[in-house]
């Protein structure tokens, strides 16, 4: 069996004095696409931030690409270089004086960026035409593609997305998911994505983790997104959210 990309055991994360995430355990196999779902305030963002070492965790352990995170979330640079993160609600202030090409170049965290790396990353996400545009002039869908180029400007093994499709219309979200699937195949990526779009998760992910502070269920979408399981995670009377596809 291939070595796991990520192994989480009994992870507990405290935010502002309360347990946002409690004793969560799971692992990610290479080149899988896993969705993390759950109601607002379920601890999804806290969990992904703790996995990446962006915030400290208070209990349990996280092993990322064979390296264990310290309690403060310290991640060795060599491991960090293989992991990329797309944050929730990335907003660029008006007239922020940064071109798309400059922004994508900032994603490179090695000693020397090879010539052509930025152009190649933009081509991967079909955003070559945006290179000279200001980041602040882009639409929501364009921003998401450029963020992907930022993440993939150098080869990564794990891509973590925190509600990447939020703010996109149904067509934009669909295009984004298709692009993500294509990149996953082509780049051999392992994906962990926080999502509220259960229809999209059902169609495109291999596995679902249902979180409501604790891990309530996990497994393939057909099992984890069954009405009984959803009620367990979201509570009684839950109406699944989905885009209206035209």
């Amino acid at each position: 069996m291939a070595e796991m990309i990520l192994t989480v055991e009994d992870l507990t994360v405290r935010r502002e004095g309360v347990n946002a995430v409690e004793e969560v355990s799971f692992s990610l196999a290479p080149q899988t696409d896993t969705a993390l779902v759950g109601p607002n305030g379920a601890g999804k963002s806290s969990l992904v931030k703790a996995l990446l070492g962006l915030i400290p965790h208070q209990g349990g352990s996280v092993q990322l690409l064979g390296q264990r995170l310290g309690p403060q979330g310290q991640l060795p640079p060599a491991v960090r270089a293989q992991v990329a993160y797309m944050p929730q609600s990335f907003a660029v202030p008006p007239r922020f004086p940064l071109s798309v090409a400059e922004f994508v170049a900032l994603g490179w965290d090695g000693p020397r960026r090879p010539r052509g790396a930025v152009a190649e990353a933009l081509a991967k996400v079909t955003a070559s035409a945006l290179a000279e545009r200001l980041l602040s002039e882009l639409s929501g869908g364009e921003i998401q593609r450029v963020l992907l180029a930022f993440c993939l400007v150098r080869p990564r093994r794990l891509l973590v997305l925190d509600e990447a499709q939020a703010g996109l219309d149904a067509q934009g979200a669909e295009r984004f998911y298709l692009l993500l699937q294509e990149l996953r195949r082509r780049e051999g990526l392992t994906i962990l994505q926080v999502s509220h779009d259960l229809e999209m998760v059902r169609r495109s992910c291999d596995r679902v983790l249902c979180l409501n502070r604790r891990l309530r269920c996990s497994g393939p979408p057909a099992h984890a997104l069954s009405p009984a399981q959803l009620e367990l995670v979201y509570g009684k009377g839950y109406v699944p959210y989905h885009h209206h596809h035209h």
Binding site: R95, L138, G140
Partner: protein, 284 residues
């Protein structure tokens, strides 16, 4: 009406040479640091620090010390205390800065009323005296410009990423708290050194106006920072020539020149936007 003086005759005067060099260095420094300060929404910080610095100057006068040398530790302390207060009190930063700034200004003016020899120089403190800038101050400004350039080149990636999105910056290994603090301390030291030339009331103009003018017309980050520094330096030199030629106060003259540059940039930006689609109008 004051007779305009020829530029050649002004340039021959040693104090004028020092003043022009001071204007160039102060303006360029203000533009350079201002370019990041404006993006980080620290415009009000430089204003508050400028006003609070009056207390540092009065302390120096009371202790019989060189005001510039007292202002540097005072400004660094101010930056550290305000940063800690913003972080710990969880009050809005602008409200907190207002409390610190108005109270230190009030204490400074009260203390100033007890210092006989400083009464006449209040106007100089408020509006600056760039014509009286010393070689020591010029040396400090030049050193600060070098430090700022070196730190700016080293932390460019960190400053952009932490300004855009803290989580994104952390995920790429940026030491966010360290770079936040280092920038604020550097800004505080520059404001402290520039106070003598620019004055308490006008210092924020030096930091904010060139950066905003540059932001209106820039299409990439390096161009933005470079243009902001250049506009700051040009505003400093042109303002001083105007000040000396027409016998006007130096600090206000520089700020008025910077304002004219800003208005020109605004016109250019408005002209270039005509006929362009609104941001985000293109299909996703």
């Amino acid at each position: 009406m004051v007779e305009p003086v020829s530029i050649a005759s002004l340039w021959a005067l040693p104090f004028m040479q020092r003043a022009l060099l001071g204007g160039l260095l102060t303006g360029a420094l203000g533009g350079l640091l201002g370019s990041v300060a404006v993006l980080r929404q620290l415009s009000f910080f430089s204003d508050a620090l400028g006003h609070a610095a009056l207390l540092g100057i009065v302390l120096a006068i009371l202790l019989g010390l060189n005001p510039t040398l007292v202002l540097i530790p005072f400004a660094v302390l101010f930056a550290l205390v305000v940063s800690a207060l913003v972080r710990r009190s969880q009050l809005p930063a602008d409200a907190l800065l207002n409390i610190v700034y108005s109270s230190s200004l009030a204490v400074a003016v009260l203390a100033l009323s007890f210092v006989q020899e400083a009464k006449g120089s209040l106007q100089q403190l408020l509006f600056g005296d760039i014509l009286g800038v010393s070689w020591l101050e010029l040396g400090l400004l030049a050193l600060l410009l070098l430090i700022t350039l070196a730190y700016g080149a080293h932390s460019r990636r960190a400053q952009i990423l932490l300004t855009l999105d803290e989580s994104l910056a952390l995920s790429r290994g940026v030491a966010v708290p360290l770079h936040r603090l280092l920038f604020v301390v550097l800004l505080a030291v520059v404001v402290a050194i520039a106070i003598k030339a620019v004055g308490v009331l006008l210092i924020s103009g030096f930091v904010v106006i060139p950066a905003c003018a540059s932001r209106l017309v820039s299409r990439n980050f390096n161009g933005y920072v470079g243009l902001s520094a250049a506009l700051g330096g040009c505003g400093g030199v042109l303002g001083l020539f105007g000040s000396a030629a027409f016998n006007l106060p130096s600090g206000p003259s520089v700020v008025v020149v910077q304002l004219l540059i800003f208005l020109l940039a605004l016109l250019l930006a408005m002209g270039s936007r005509k006929g362009k689609p609104a941001p985000g109008a293109s299909p996703g």
